[in-house]
């Protein structure tokens, strides 16, 4: 199998679904002629035509609202929003319509659409280009929320997202588009939702991460191993549905949990996970659950961004604190 980066893995998966799923349509800003600002849709319009890979006007609400109508009509649209920071004009469409139509029509109308959104900091981009507000989506009933961490998962989870009968928010870690290489099956093999992956086996402390934070959690685990501590590293893959069982199995074994998220701290996904761990496994804990997160600040611009984004060092420090009993 060839080694590809995440952007390439997504590209070959989109090419695959356009070829095999005739009900798919890609729409978004600059996705056609230029292949998207991150080139994830590179070459797809030339191959599949401008009816199925559509360059839209700059109108996020319009893109998502039109994709919603297409989905109800029987298609499986794949909408791209250029950056998570530009998504907010479409949030009303998602929270007021896309996420609700199945419930408000008792399954009569459904919206099987995928919204792909690059997210996260780490490339020193301009303001609004470094957001990590995945908690907004996890907090919105009726959405599935997917955050792949490596090329194979990006391909497999995207394939599952396209085939899912409900709306999926597919968050692509910008920093990981070209950071990692990995083997991707051709054609891609689906990765099921709601099944976390154990990226490293250990029995001393559990590190839970997703998306761009997974490589940093693994790097932290390496550092901990040098100290003689073995970390169990869990990659959630999907926030909704959440594989809480895998997290609980690990935490009850290690007695220590460190949850890593790039998003703002207050009401972030780590807070939800910490609450669930204490509800289900409090008496197995040997130390308070630790959170390693971004701060409740605007994501700082390039020169100070590193103060915000969790690093392997910060994760390892939190783990050492937990190992000492908190």
């Amino acid at each position: 199998m060839p080694e590809v980066n995440m952007a390439q893995a997504l590209n070959l998966t989109l090419d695959h679904v356009l070829s095999t799923h005739t009900d798919t349509v890609i729409l978004g800003e600059d996705v056609g002629r230029t292949g998207g600002v991150f080139r994830v849709t590179d070459g797809l319009q030339a191959k599949h035509g401008s009816e199925r890979v559509v360059d839209t006007p700059v109108a996020e609400s319009g893109i998502v609202g039109a994709a919603f109508g297409m989905a109800i009509s029987g298609l499986r649209p794949i909408a791209e929003i250029q950056f998570l920071g530009f998504f907010y004009p479409a949030y009303d469409q998602v929270v007021s319509h896309v996420s609700r139509i199945r419930h408000r029509s008792r399954h009569r109308f459904t919206a099987p659409l995928v919204i792909r959104i690059p997210y996260g900091a780490g490339i020193g981009a301009a303001e609004h280009h470094s957001e990590s507000t995945e908690a907004l989506f996890a907090h919105t009933p009726g959405l599935k929320v997917v955050v792949p961490s490596d090329p194979a998962d990006a391909a497999g989870l995207l394939l599952t997202a396209v085939e899912d009968p409900d709306p999926v928010i597919f968050l692509e870690p910008i920093r990981s588009y070209r950071r990692l290489q990995g083997e991707v099956a051709s054609p891609p093999e689906p990765v099921p939702f709601g099944q976390a992956a154990r990226r490293r086996q250990g029995s001393d402390v559990t590190l839970v991460a997703y998306g761009a934070m997974v490589p940093d959690a693994l790097e932290a685990a390496e550092a901990l191993a040098e100290d003689g501590h073995e970390a169990d590293v869990i990659d959630l893959r999907t926030l909704v549905p959440l594989d809480l069982d895998t997290v609980l199995e690990s935490v009850t074994r290690t007695g220590r949990a460190v949850i890593v998220q790039e998003g703002h701290r207050t009401c972030g996904f780590a807070a939800e996970l910490a609450a669930s761990i204490q509800e289900e496994a409090l008496y197995s804990l040997q130390a308070p659950v630790q959170r390693v997160t971004g701060w409740d600040t605007v994501v700082p611009l390039r020169r100070a961004e590193h103060h915000y984004v969790p690093s392997a060092d910060r994760i390892a420090a939190a783990a050492r604190h937990a190992l000492k009993g908190g």
Binding site: D23, V25, E51, R52, T56, P57, A59, S61, G62, G65, A66, A67, F68, G69, M70, A71, I72, S73, G74, L75, P77, P89, D92, Q93, S96, H97, I101, R102, H103, R104, S105, R106, H107, R108, F109, T110, P141, G142, K144, P165, D166, G194, V240, P241, L242, D243, L244, D245
Partner: protein, 345 residues
Amino acid sequence: MLEILQPDGSLAADAAAPLDDEETRLLFAALVAARAYDRKGTALQKQGRLATYASFEGQEAAQIGAAAALQPADWLVATYRDAAAMWFHGYPWMNLFLGRTGDERGGSPPMGVNVLPPSITVGAHMIHAVGLAWGERLQSRDRVAMTMFGDGATSEGDFHEAMNFAGVYQLPVVFLCQNNHYAISLPRAEQTASETIAQKADAYGFPGVQVDGNDLFAVHSAAQPATARARSGGGPTLIEAVTYRMAPHTTADDPGRYRDSNETEAWKERDPIARVRRYLESRGSWDDDRQAELETSAADDVEAAIAAAEDLEPLGPAEVFSAMFAEMTPQLVRQQQALMRYRDA
């Protein structure tokens, strides 16, 4: 402004009726049925049997004249004030009442009825019609999507995005604005500096037409070619139906705070239903016996619909969780179990 059928039931000079007498009687019956539903809705709300109700009295011809231009498989994407059009396009009175009693099953019309549940948020739904029309075209079906909205919705940013997408992709969409003169309390003149709402279509590169929205013939005369043109690939149309909301915005509103009752009285003279009756009577096509029979049958239908809605058992605690996804997530299963444990304890 296009006007054909005048308030006294006569045709405007040089105007011809777009419908024959049989077709006119059919639509007249629909107008009467819609008013029976609407008045029942307000009455039931006052009895506490429905949640807040939004009357469309005065707007029946705008809705039915437009919906009558649709073919059965076409899409209708409308609002909480558009029950007349939704019903005419196949959405049962029972479901409309059911929704108003506070039950999500009201949002589930029978299969084959291509009408979305009414949009409660203002303006966001127009782009859904655009997406539906687009999706139909991509699937090589010649269905049209009509979307209905009020003057108030044209101030929303989503109105612009929907009109713009429809124009750019030349989609088979008909935008039907019922300009009823008020966005709750804000008069039309304070909503936009445009002289008409219809003229806004110019900016998007497709036709806009203003019609007397209380004139069944004028509305239908605009809507029929608009749907036909859309179906044949000619692109979208904006129709501004100038009408008037005779009732409060909803049963929770007090229009005395923002409009003069003399204005409302004056619009009574322009009633959309009375003029069709006068027209049919003048042609010997209608009489008091037929009217009595029609009103009885409309009232019976409405009573049967509310009875069917109220007979349904409310959704149970388990069902609250069961329509979020095709398959419940483990989190929803846990939450459902928590609620059931609490109830059983």
